[in-house]
Symmetry: C3
Subunit: 133 residues, 3 copies
């Protein structure tokens, strides 16, 4: 298993890690299989969406803040209850098929690490498994 | 890896693809393993829920429209920002165990392709991996 | 594939099943691979979040009830439409890497079965796959 280190800069932001993950897939030498992304944090997540127009990720974080306000209306007293809930809604684990040594991402898709309680130093674990005997 | 083509008819709808996926699992000849479903789009998703009462999927799309209104209150100017956000909330990747040549779906579960910016011609990639040596 | 039986006690609650899943990973004898968790229900889900402060799971269920009210404003007439929608938002399938015979959970992470229409007797399927040839 490999691991990416991600230094986030804002409280809430989506960071494109597609290139780093693609590099690990290439390095693995695995032709066909799956790439599992796993975020070992409870106030962060991982998702796939459009990487072309940065307004899209701005819209995603703005809407999440509207649905789950970053305020003190929660029982958890550390001031980051909203970040825990966003992590549940977005998820912390993803599986992407690998074919011909490549992630089978769609044309507009990028992989985003989702910071909901930054800035922090974060980790994304990357496990690539072959399905060839 | 196999691929399903899905022709959607409405802007927002959930389309039951259980039978098509089950057929690919059967065709693969794989007795035990996992089935990975992957949607290579940024304004669509994939989920599992009740396939018996069609009101359930109507409720799901209505509630998503309430949480993420399909209007122009977003930065992304293509008019489908809500569809990108719904894709993040629902997810574009799923893993289902395979046993005895079958998806281990629960009694009421069906697999749904989620269109959030149709009508379009869409794709769902299906990768079935054996865990037998 | 293994299976856990979970007896839920409330209509909506998150139940920590980390210890039971960890035990199955150990029992499998698999050193490196992935653990797939699959919930075969349409009004329940599976997620990972903080297991230390019980206020976190209370905040999660309270916010989900705010976003998806448990009332009769839906088309599905069984009184549990909200539970179906929560299941879609949270998800019913998870993948966690396994290394050195252990789930690679983060320090604060626990695995939670999510009951949205209890109390009921529920099931969580656990499939552990080795990536060693």
């Amino acid at each position: 298993m490999e691991s990416l280190t991600i230094n986030t800069r804002k409280r809430t932001e989506l960071i494109d890690i597609t290139a780093q993950v693609a590099r690990l897939v290439e390095k693995s030498g695995i032709r066909s299989g799956v790439c599992i992304l796993y975020v070992p944090h409870t106030t962060a997540g991982i998702t796939i969406n459009e990487s072309y127009d940065p307004d899209v990720t701005e819209d995603i974080t703005a809407l999440l803040n509207r649905l789950v306000p970053p305020d003190r209306s929660y029982r958890h007293t550390e001031g980051n209850a909203d970040a825990h809930i966003k992590s549940v809604l977005v998820g912390c684990s993803l599986v992407i098929p690998v074919e011909d040594h490549r992630l089978t991402l769609g044309r507009w898709q990028g992989i985003f690490f989702c910071e909901f309680d930054g800035p922090r130093t974060r980790e994304c674990r990357v496990k690539i498994i072959s399905d060839q005997k």
